[in-house]
């Protein structure tokens, strides 16, 4: 599967879009819009691969032979991690799983908030990480602007977190001797 999306040419620059385990049609429509595709092409990206989940908005496929952006999509796949690894830019929903997976890979990331969700707390995480310059934040409406103005050089690597403080507090509370 992945061979189809990557040609052996080194100048291949793939953008991977993921909506997570449900659907996010507003994001799929946004990345499939001419405006966003033009901005991506201007920034030198050559391929656009969309994981669209079980949404109803089907992107328009394109082989990209005429010099435009090559577009492909799929619903779900067990090898999302492989697509992330081969991408040059990731555009993701605001779920913590895919945010931290992308940050661990050290890939540039634009998080797009789903404004249709009722309890939209997920935006909090994206915003605080954007403040710390680990990623960019956008909405489906502002995505093209973010792509145009983003400065990839300004992003800082994310230092992985640590669960040991919790384990130590628990052990202390339970009366275990310190190691």
């Amino acid at each position: 599967m992945s061979g189809r999306h990557q040609s052996p040419k080194t100048e291949n620059q793939m953008v991977f879009v993921t909506v997570g385990s449900t659907f996010f049609d507003a994001l799929v429509k946004s990345v499939d819009s001419q405006q966003v595709k033009d901005e991506l092409r201007k920034r030198g990206y050559t391929n656009l691969l969309i994981q669209m989940g079980r949404g109803f908005s089907i992107p328009s496929k394109s082989s990209g032979e005429d010099g435009s952006l090559a577009v492909d999509y799929f619903t779900f796949s067990p090898s999302i991690a492989d697509y992330m690894r081969s991408a040059s830019l990731i555009i993701s929903h605001a779920g913590s799983g895919s945010i931290f997976e992308t940050l661990r890979l050290g890939k540039p990331l634009i998080v797009v908030a789903n404004e249709d969700l009722m309890d939209n707390h997920q935006i909090e995480l994206a915003e605080v990480l954007a403040d710390k310059k680990h990623l960019f934040c956008a909405t489906p409406q502002t995505l093209h602007q973010t792509i145009r103005t983003m400065d990839l050089g300004s992003l800082l690597p994310y230092p992985p977190g640590e669960a040991l403080p919790i384990a130590n507090l628990m052990s202390k509370f339970l009366g275990f001797p310190p190691e």
Partner: protein
Amino acid sequence: MEGSQYRGYGMILLGAVVSITMIRLAYVLYWIGRPLRPLQKHLSTLIVLGSGGHTAEMLRLVNVLQKDRFVPRFYIAAGTDNMSLQKARVLEDSLLENKGIGNKNIEKLVYFEQIYRSREVGQSYITSIYTTMLALVHALWLMLKFRPEVIICNGPGTCIPICLVAFIFKVIGVRWSSIFYIESIARVRRLSLSGLLLYKLHLADQFYVQWPQLQRKYPRAHYVGCVM
């Protein structure tokens, strides 16, 4: 005349039951959150996996726990969640490989079980009363079966019936389980509903948050930094 005498005894009995319950409740609430002294070599531990990002955070913690202290381990996940128990099993298998213990022993040390989920996304409130009751009964059954000394949870709602049953067990003296709750990394400014419930009702013995903003708002919480 006799009737009123019985009524008098009844009132005294009722008064006694109510005061004993109140004293016991006060006693339990006093001891929740206070460190334990006993020194057992190991404690049976219930780990509630919440699905998706919750499970990922929980397994990061399990990975660094001193495994010989938190044993046996019971993992539970919602019945609608197929991935979490599988991920926990992969982690436990990798621990075994590291230690070089045969596969025989894991059966006695690690258990995996699914729990009835109290409310699905978008379910109506009327049917969720019924399903919540079912979830409570199932939680009661699992808690009677495991009677864990330690409960580790991090939301979402799956952990609420378990924590409620654990509290009732504390009050009636069936089992004292220490409850540790870790609020999700995705909660930066506001607690989740599960977190808020456990915090406000004083159900958790220790309550951890991953962002300093939250700790300032909820001073009984411990700020532990990001686990992811």
